[in-house]
């Protein structure tokens, strides 16, 4: 697994907070990632929901360009770290200790995790970036509730997982 540099939490948070404001002042758009997956679905789906989403977002389709940039950012972060760029399916020490070793079984868990996030983010109207970071920055009560819900769900499943398997 690629070992990346990790800054102190305060500095990392400061960086992301300043980034949110930078994006807002430059582009006028509030940070949010999960809707980008709607734009992605809109590339191949003709369902009314995705067509309406497309019309709402306008012809620029900025969310799609934004999420294309994310893997490139990861590549840059990995290249600028001292270790080598390593591709692999490892999930780190802790997750690997509770997840099945077989790749097919591990991948199923990850697909289910992704699916719950995709569905849940749309039901809740946002994800960690849109609700927890942007929403809390606006002190928006529904976003604070959502962030608490995200955390509660994560604590529930991870505690369960490590108590049952670990």
């Amino acid at each position: 697994m690629t070992e990346v540099i990790v800054w102190n939490g305060w500095i990392g948070g400061l960086g992301i907070g300043l980034y949110v404001l930078f994006q807002l002042v430059v582009t006028g758009k509030m940070l949010g990632v999960s809707s980008g997956y709607c734009s992605l679905c809109g590339c191949f789906s003709r369902a009314t929901f995705f067509i309406e989403q497309k019309q709402k977002e306008g012809p620029l389709n900025w969310r799609l360009w934004f999420i294309f940039g994310l893997p490139l950012g990861g590549l840059l972060a990995a290249w600028s770290s001292p270790g080598d760029w390593v591709a692999g399916f490892s999930l780190g020490k802790l997750y690997d200790s509770v997840f099945p070793d077989a790749l097919w079984a591990k991948s199923m868990v990850l697909v289910v995790g992704g699916l719950l996030m995709g569905l849940g983010a749309r039901m809740a109207g946002g994800c960690t970036s849109g609700h927890a970071i942007s929403g809390m920055a606006m002190l928006n009560p529904p976003s604070i509730v959502a962030a608490a819900g995200f955390f509660a769900g994560g604590v529930f499943i991870v505690q369960l997982l490590f108590r049952m398997v670990g």
Binding site: T27, Q53, G73, G74, A77, L91, L110, G114, M138
Partner: protein, 157 residues
């Protein structure tokens, strides 16, 4: 040109997420096991910095550089799906050890497990879109009291 700006934004945000530790699986497990609060510090500090900025923007109403029109802040509305959806999201978050943004960044770092998470994310979003489109069609044919988050959101804002 604008598209390149958004691509660059994605690159910067992706880089920062990685440096923040949000692309390191162990931080997720350790957060939910109450062993290490790095990710909570990140979200808390980022939101606090954002709060100060949002106050300034609300007060001075500046224009954005790209749009040349005043920045509009649209807080997300409360919807019926908010609580069940956020809990569901949380379970997925804990299972995958990534969120919708960081899964994409992880892919760039060579953490290939994220590929499956991304497939799941697209599937989940797609299922929601299909279900909602079907529901909207049904309620158009026969108006019912059931409101979807999108319709509620439209009414609220």
């Amino acid at each position: 040109m604008k598209r390149i700006v958004f691509l660059m934004m994605g690159i910067i945000f992706g880089f920062l997420l990685s440096r923040a530790g949000a692309t390191t699986y162990d931080y997720y497990a350790r957060l939910f096991l109450f062993q290490d609060f790095q990710l909570m510090f990140i979200i808390g500090t980022a939101a606090a910095v954002g709060m100060v900025g949002v106050r300034c923007i609300r007060k001075y109403r500046p224009s954005s550089l790209l749009e040349r029109s005043p920045i509009v802040l649209e807080p997300k509305p409360f919807t019926k799906g908010l609580i069940p959806g956020s809990l569901m999201f949380g379970i997925g978050w804990g299972l995958a050890g990534a969120c919708p943004g960081t899964a994409l960044v992880m892919l760039g770092e060579g953490k290939l497990g994220a590929l499956f998470t991304i497939i799941g994310l697209v599937m989940g979003t797609y299922i929601y879109g299909i279900l909602l489109s079907r529901k909207a069609r049904a309620s158009r044919a026969e108006p019912s009291e059931q409101m979807t988050p999108e319709i509620e959101a439209k009414k609220a804002g």
